[in-house]
Subunit: 356 residues, 2 copies
């Protein structure tokens, strides 16, 4: 009867040891209420039969709680370890989980079919959804599980979605004002994706119809503040990137190919800003001598880049902690929390160079 693998069940052990499965269960889960002699006998039998201990699969069904929270994203799984923002966020999420003994399940999928299935079949007590690029489908799928749930980012227009995010408009405004006050008048904007996998130069109108509210809000924040300084925002080149080196560099190639070269670059993520610094260094453009760069996020890499990056810092650690708290406490209140952002001025921004 020994097929390739032999699944020894608790019941098998019980029978072999001559006790009921109820008692056998107690041996493992409530050893103190089983007479020592019996306990030892059952344990010895289990050992002899190669029983690996109560299978969590069975226990789970009865207990109901998985004791793990799921973190879901649209990006490939490696996003959690590659992207600086995600990394910091995950570090704070994992601290909070450690404190409560909860585990973490990373959920993702390359294609959207898998995504649906992965979300639907994830064994978790709740979801934290990374919707950095605001995929509402992801949010929808997660909500359908009817588990405790919180989105990281207030992208969704749907006010009923519990979410933790930052004030993108105000944050972008801070960045724009900082540069404008330094005297800059010729700007360029590097955006996060507006459409699925879109990249290339776009118009303000196109950006306004962005699928992703986060991108849209940051852009509004930038342009709104700039126009307050009398800058003709329709002239500001806007280049859509997918937040990677290639598209950022392509964007800068494009932006600096024109006659009116900008003196200030607004980047919607630190990652983009850091790639931009690389590009500028390779093109012997001084930062902040010739061009100032301001990022968005406040990742630690920004503090040690060359030059250190001026950026709009999100309270990432605090957001992570709150997200975990929201899942674990699940007080039903689908709260939307708006966290404050902070302009961190470092060396990548400086006064506008005098006109040559």
């Amino acid at each position: 009867m020994d097929r390739s693998t032999r699944p020894v069940r608790l019941a098998d052990v019980a029978k072999a040891a001559g006790v009921s499965h109820g008692t056998a269960s107690n041996v493992f889960s409530h050893p103190e209420i089983v007479r020592e002699e019996v306990r030892e006998r059952v344990k010895a039998t289990a050992e002899a039969m190669g029983y690996a201990g109560p299978d969590p699969k069975g226990r789970l069904l009865r207990a109901g709680k998985v004791n793990a929270i799921g973190v879901a994203t649209n990006e490939p799984l490696s996003y959690f370890f590659d992207d600086p923002f995600a990394r910091v966020m995950m570090a704070s999420i994992s601290q909070a989980c450690d404190a409560t003994g909860a585990g973490i399940s990373l959920v993702s999928a390359a294609n959207s079919e898998h995504l649906a299935w992965n979300i639907q079949s994830a064994l978790v007590d709740g979801f934290i959804v990374f919707c950095i690029e605001g995929d509402s489908r992801l949010v929808e799928l997660a909500r359908e599980r009817k588990l405790p749930f919180v989105a990281l980012d207030l992208d969704s227009e749907n006010q009923s979605v519990a979410a933790i995010g930052v004030d993108n408009i105000a944050g972008a405004g801070l960045a724009a004002r900082h540069l404008a006050e330094l005297g800059h008048r010729r700007f360029a904007v590097l955006t996060l994706p507006c459409a699925e996998d879109g990249h290339g130069p776009i118009t303000q109108a196109q950006a306004e119809t962005s699928l992703y509210a986060g991108t849209r809000d940051r852009l509004r924040g930038y342009l709104g503040e700039l126009s307050r300084f009398g800058i003709e925002v329709s002239q500001v080149p806007i280049y859509e990137t997918v937040n990677d080196e290639e598209s950022v560099w392509a964007g800068l190639d494009h932006i600096f190919a024109g006659a009116e070269k900008p003196t200030a670059i607004l980047a919607m993520s630190d990652k983009m800003a850091l790639h931009a610094l690389d590009w500028l260094r390779r093109h012997d453009i001084a930062v902040p001598g010739d061009v100032s760069v301001v990022g968005f996020d406040g990742v630690p890499e920004g503090a040690t880049s060359k030059p250190p990056l001026t950026t709009v810092a999100q309270p990432i650690a605090e957001m992570g902690h709150r997200a975990v708290k929201a899942i674990l406490e699940n007080d039903g209140a689908s709260s939307r929390q708006l966290m404050p952002v902070d302009l961190v001025v470092r060396a990548s921004s400086g006064p506008c160079p005098v006109k040559s």
Copy 2:
């Protein structure tokens, strides 16, 4: 009957829709074999009752496969996102998982009681164990689950443990020889932990009794090669660190307090080596002018540090891929794979300065 939450079961939906639970199950799992009219009716009923779809908990028990692999460590969960080596390894593990559609469960625990429980109750199809610091208890617990299993590191003496690791002795030897060939004769070694939470200066004899075979082997590799160059290894200061900035800096404080200052530092991890570079810069000690530093691991940060770090690179990506493959294929063969290491010479090592 409506307690705080109402758990709607598939059976409830089936009854309400007037079909058997078997048919209801098919509506969700094999929609194509259910007559359309029935299918729609059941789906509508489910919707109306607030049924969230088949609960994976139930499905799991029947199906047996979780479709997730567990990655376990002794460190806090945030280790996966903070430590450079872990990050690179996790990135490659997650790539491999993405390719097969598997999820990742991070398992850890602050204290060892939790550890046991977390390992025992983790819902996974197999374990990859990060035993960078070679905790054999962790390995033991994971093996007891009798799931596919592979340790990252060949620490364990137990040859029956499936493991993927590098040739620590040979790798350390490469580093030592490189420096010796550059003319260095006064060395210092920064080790990974030898005992639980130990740190401070230790003797060679103490290090030889290290709990952790990885630490021991690297030390053997270092000292073995050095003695081949006629260096009196008993005079080489060995300082045990816990792989963080504080203990590395304390180690260097101690090492450089002596009269015979070393010209070459062998660090058992890149993380330590990078902290050492920071310390040296702060003390205005030129690298490699006054002191050469060689790390171990080959993390990407080493390529961009100041100066770029000479190191013994592990094929981290390849190891991650193989680990996942080993779990998913689980061909029973508890193989021990020894991966080759590679000396990567960058700017942190140079000729020994002429004696002053």
